[in-house]
Symmetry: C2
Subunit: 418 residues, 2 copies
């Protein structure tokens, strides 16, 4: 016997989020080791301390001549110091030179180890080569043009902190200290499945009735989860059947860190997902119905020890629920800050009625005017309309305390394009 | 016979960039087709027009009862309209109901096709079911709770423009109109190789001399190129040998869209890369030496018809040259806007001397004070120091027109973390 009724009570978004985080926010997916070349954008799961000095020896920072600085002190263009050339020092090569004694110098290339006895390098531009002699026309202070051992990184320096997003220059530092491998947070594995007899996969319409609908929410939610640093376990489409849904949930919970269902969460007769979750576990539905628009029929429970997020089937509703309640958990898990949208200020083009106690996500067009940016809410009849997002320039979140926002009010607009 | 001398003339960054873009900015890597599920973050290379209406038919946006609106006009809580229930319409299922005539209604679920004769849906919350009759306690206007055919997307609508970064909601739209495949810009293939007898690959130090240095610049530049949407062709390390370098360049030019060399570009005796490029082609070196600090020994030429960017070997110098001159070209090629760093305003903690005519990239620490953000330049003795980046909070670019910037001046800081 089916019953049709509305949600008895809607949970405020902040309460829903707190419940989810208090239950699963402490858990982490653990770490895995990757080659540093594959680590860009991942989150470090160790603190890396250098066991070496970089540079590993005093080396020349330029091409020129390694000298004892005191030999150059009185040199000038008119009165160059004349030094005897005693060999060549090349980066990575043997130093074909003895120690630099008074009155001597050694030709040296960038990166080469400073020969014993030398304390500085005169740049090639400031010298003239005359056979076996070098005329130095400019004095250099002690240490000039030399990168001293450990100047860049000292043994014992922390070169990468724990829980940092790894950037290209961190990869450079890890390479330079000889670390080929780095421990990073494992990507959380998120299983996603859709329910609905009317649904078919893209390209899979053959043989289905004229009323079949391509499942557009699942690929969209999957790409949002990937963009948030998760690995996606695609659970496909399940028909509106209590047993099929239960079995799918259990299978996905065993093989994933969290399960997202899409569809079948409204409080109608065919809304089997919460029922299936309840049939599996006493905690299958911890809450169902959130004070958010669109996205109200959002549910949360625990199945097989894993969080189960029951997203509404309409794409924009699912997206709003994902952003408001699921992504904050996933970013705690992955250790990465959630990607923040750029925010601009704009004035509302018209009054927007909202219901107190409900958080509203408006999709708006932006228009540049002499008086600044104007945000026009996109007229919609249903939360299912994907075009309300694809045609929008941004999103305005209107909090629970408002009973509508007046025309001309200043609002913050999160930009959808960056 | 080696000669050591400085650069004769340094080319301003803007001129260097103009030369590169005028030569290769019009070229594009062409397009490739990908499954829409793999298209997130790629750049569209076609304009997609819908050949269908979405929804494909008038459908219910809620769970409730499909009615003729005129039958509900006089209804109220005290005086509900009484309608005869004539069947059920389910999403994706057969509509087990005849047309809705006067005084009749059909139970309908979200997403189900509106039965013939009905023009609106009363929400389940506003109805009471009594056996074969339904009491409607609220009037609905014509069209209420119905998503009409084409309301979201109309046949002929442009659902995705050319040259747009594909977002999750675009994937949703493409799925909903039944497009499994999308043409996107092919990723430019960038070959990267390092030169230097002193260099070894990470983990490859065994059997090398004590003066060997791990190549840290190449993995860093490779990850920056990947992050900019390129495919990387790793050309490894080449010894400082004219013939080896020439052969490597030609091989990589044949198999890639652009070649980046790292190292061997300073004007010393061991700087074989420009010489190798010249030995291959009269256009092997179009310019060499750019008015940028760090990064001065930057060169550009054409080898095998492909652009050759000769980056300096020191990591930060290479990074600055890449960002200033190479990435703008690569983003034209890939069609994506270059990722912009967040910019904050700060005051300089101390005077910074700069050379007029040279663009300087300062690495700075930021400190929050009562008087706002303070930017302290990181003291460095050489552009090679990776730690000047890993310890920095941001980068301040000081233009060619300055002859130093005074303590307390306001500067724009590009943040390295986001």
């Amino acid at each position: 016997m089916r019953t049709m009724k509305g949600f008895k009570a809607l949970m405020p978004v902040s309460d829903a989020l707190s419940l989810v985080l208090s239950r699963f926010g402490e858990w982490t997916p653990g770490s895995e080791e990757v080659l540093i070349a594959s680590s860009c954008g991942r989150v470090s799961d160790e603190r890396v301390v250098s066991s070496v000095d970089i540079p590993p020896f005093d080396r020349s920072a330029v091409d020129g001549y390694a000298v004892r600085s005191e030999d150059t002190y009185s040199s000038s263009n008119n009165n160059p110091a004349e030094l005897a050339l005693r060999g060549t020092a090349e980066a990575g090569g043997a130093t074909l030179a003895g120690p630099v004694l008074g009155g001597n110098c050694v030709e040296i290339y960038t990166g080469a180890k400073l020969p014993e006895g030398a304390d500085s390098v005169v740049m090639a531009e400031d010298c003239e080569r005359l056979g076996g002699r070098v005329l130095v026309s400019k004095p250099v202070p002690r240490g000039a043009n030399v990168s001293i051992k450990g100047e860049d990184i000292r043994m014992g320096d922390v070169v990468l902190c724990d829980h940092r997003v790894i950037r290209p220059w961190h990869i450079g530092v890890l390479a330079s200290i000889g670390r080929p491998i780095i421990a990073v947070r494992r990507r959380p594995v998120i299983a996603i499945f859709s329910t609905g007899n009317e649904l078919v996969d893209i390209g899979g319409t053959a043989g289905k009735g004229a009323q079949s609908i391509v499942d557009s929410t699942r690929p969209m939610i999957a790409s949002m989860a990937s963009a948030a640093g998760c690995a996606v376990n695609d659970g496909g489409i399940v028909s509106d059947d209590l047993d099929s849904i239960s079995r799918k949930m259990l299978m996905l919970a065993r093989t994933s860190d969290a399960v997202l269902s899409i569809g079948g969460t409204s409080v109608g007769g065919k809304d089997m997902v919460p029922e299936a979750a309840k049939s599996i576990s006493s905690e299958g539905v911890i809450f169902h119905g959130v004070a958010i628009k669109p996205g109200k029929p959002f549910g949360f429970g625990v199945v097989g020890g894993k969080p189960l997020f029951m997203l509404p089937g309409y794409p924009v509703s699912a997206m709003v629920g994902l952003e408001a309640i699921v992504l904050p958990l996933l970013s705690l898990w992955s250790g990465a800050c959630p990607a923040k949208r750029q925010v601009v200020k704009a004035r509302l083009a018209r009054r927007v009625p909202t219901t107190p106690g409900i958080r509203h996500y408006l999709r708006v067009h932006l228009e540049e005017t002499d008086g600044g940016l104007i945000a026009s809410p996109i007229a919609i009849t249903g939360s299912g309309l994907l075009s309300s997002i694809t045609r929008a320039d941004g999103i305005v979140v209107i909090g629970e305390d408002y009973e509508g926002v007046e025309e001309g009010s200043e609002v913050s607009v999160e930009l959808l394009e960056d």
